[in-house]
Amino acid sequence: MTHAAWSLRNRLIALLATLAFVGWGTSSVWLYRSAYQEASELFDAALIETAHAVFAIIAHEALAEDEHVELEAVDHAHAERLFYQVRNGRGALVALSPGAPNEPLADANAHGFTEQVADGARYRVYTLREPSGRAAIHVGQPLAEREQLARKMALRLLLPGVVLVVLLAAGVWIIVRRVTSPLIAFSTAIDARAPSDTGAVHVERLPAELLPVGQAVNRLLGRVESALMHERTLTADAAHELRTPLAALRAQAQVALRARRDDERNTALRELIGGVDRATHLVETVLMLARLDAREVDRSALPAVALDRLVANVVDEVQAATAVRELRVEVDVPPLALRADAEALRVALRNLCENASQHAATRFRIEARADSDAVVIAVRDDGPGMTPAEQERAFDRFYRGSAGGAGTGLGLALVKRAAEMHAGDVRIGAGLDGRGVGVELVLPRGVAMPKTKGD
C-alpha cells in the first residue's frame, strides 16, 4: 500500500465529533442572536420607561423656569448607563443628566427610536414628546455599551453548550472505542500470529457484522494450510523419489559385490545398469519439469507448430515400445497449426503416448479436433483404466497409481504443466472400447489458428 491506511475508529470519532460540533455551533449562533435581540428589546423598554419617569418628575419644572438644571443620573436595574436630555419648546437643551453628552442626542423634531452620534459616541435614543410640543425628552444609551452588555448576556447563555459539547465528544470517543474494540482485538489477534500458524481464528465472540469476515479468514487459512501441506508433501515426495533410485543403485552394487557366483553377479550388474538408466530418466524428467515450471510463456509471441507433424514425430519416437508390445497406433489428427511452446507440447504428447504404449492392451489412438472454443488433443487406450481415486490424483507429481507403476510418476504432471503454460487444461476422459483411459489436453482456441500450408 502506498497510501496510509485510514482508521475506521478515528474516522468515526472525527465524524461524530464534527456532527456534535456543527450542531452545537448552529444552535449557539441561533441562541446568541435571539438572546442579543431579547436584550436589545429589554434595553429599549428601559429607555421608554426611563423617558416616562423623567418626564413625570421633571417636565413641569423645566418647562416653567426655562433653566438649565442638573439632574441626577438614573440608576437602572441592569446597571447600564442611561443618559438623557430635556429640550424646551424652542428646541434648546434645558436639562442634562450627569455624563450626558453636550451635543443633542437627537434632532429637534425626532420621535421614538433613533440613533445619533453625540460627542463622538454613538447612541441609541428614545425621544418622548410632550403632546403640546413644549418639551421633548431624549433618553440615550451608548451603543457600544449596549452591545457589550447584550453580548455578555448572550454569551452567558452559551456556556452550558460548551460543557455539553465537551461531554458529547467524550461520550462519542468512549462509545466508538467500545463498539470497535472487537474489530481491533480481531485484527490484533491475526497480526500477532506466527507466520507458520495456519490454525483457525476464534470467531465465537465476533459480532454478527464481523463474523463473515472471521469465517472468510478461516476459510482462507484452511486453503493456505492445505497448500502448505501439499508443498511439504511434495518436497518430502521429491526427496523420497530422488533418494530411492540412488539407494537402489547402491543396494544392487552391493549385491553384485557380495555375489559368490558369476551368474549371480552378472544378474546384479545388469540390474545395476538398468537402474542407472532409470535414474537418468528420472533426473531428466525432473529437470524437464523444473524447466517447464520456470518457463514463462508469452502466448502472443509463440511460434506456429504443425500439430499433425508433431504427432507423427512423437509416434515415431515411441515406435520401439509399441512394436515390442505389438500395439496398433491410430492417428486421427487433421492438419492443424497451434501457437504453442513446441518443446512443452512435444514432451506432453510424448508422455501421453508412452503412458498409452505401456498400458494399452491392443491399441491406442491419438486424435485432435478443433471447435469454436478450443483444440482438444486426446490420447486414448484400451488398457485397464483408472479408478476414480486414481483419476483424482493422476496429475499429482510422483503419483504412480495405487499399484505403483514403473514410471517416474511425473509424466502426467508434465502434461498438466504444459497445459497450464498455454492457459489450457488437462482431464481424464473416456478410453477405447468402453475401458482404458483417455487423457484430453484442452488448449484454448485463441492459441490455435487454421493451417495455412497448402491453402
Binding site: 523420497h240 539407494a247 543403485l249 547402491r250 549385491v255 537402474g275 495405487s402
Partner: protein, 227 residues
Amino acid sequence: MRLLLVEDDAMLGAALKAGLQQDGHAVDWVRNANDAHTAWVASAQASAYEAVVLDLGLPDGSGLDLLKRARIRRLGTPVLIATARDRIADRIAGLDAGADDYMVKPIDLDELAARLRAIERRAAGRSVSTIAIGDISIDPAARSVTRAGQPVDVTARELAVLLALAKRPGAVLSRGQLIEALYGWNESIESNAVDVYVHHLRRKLGADVIETQRGLGWRLARGIQSP
C-alpha cells in the same frame, strides 16, 4: 528367516530381495500396502514371517498405518522400517507405532543383515550372537558353523536349515515349515530340496546331528543338546 519385504520401488525391491537372499533368508516381496496387508496382517498364518522389512511411502497408503493395524491386531512380528524419510520426527513416529528398528535409505545390505540378526536374537531372547547346541556353535553373523571347535563350511541354504532347526531345539519341523524358511513365493523349489540340504548337513557335521522323524519331519538330535 522367512521375511516379508514391503517396498514399492521395483529396482530397490529387487536389490533388497537379492541381498536378503544372499544372507540365506526366504523373502516374500510385495509392492503395495494392500498386498502387504493380505500377506501379513489379514493372513490367518500370522506367524509365517519372522520379520517384516517395511517401506513407509507406499502407493496406496502409508506403511505406518499398516504397522499400526498389525499392532492393533496384536501381531508381534518384528518390523524393521526401511525408508527415505530421515526426519527425527518420522523415526520417532515409526518406532512408537511399533517398529523394532528404523533404517534410512540408502541401506547397506550388511547393516540390514546385522539388524535383522539383532531382531532375531531379541525375538529368541538371546543376548549373544552365536547359537550353541551341544558342541555345535553357529554364528549367523559370520555365517560360520563349528563342531567341536572345528570349522565347517556350509552354504547359505544349509545354514538356513540348520538355524531353523536350532531355533526350536527338540521340535520336529515338517518339510513345509523348512521350505517356508528357505524359499520366497516365486522361487522354484525342487521336490527333494530339503532332503538334499539335510543330507549335506549330515555329511558335513556328522550323521548324528539331525534326526529324521519318518512322516513328520526333522529335528536336531537330542544327543548333541548337551556336550
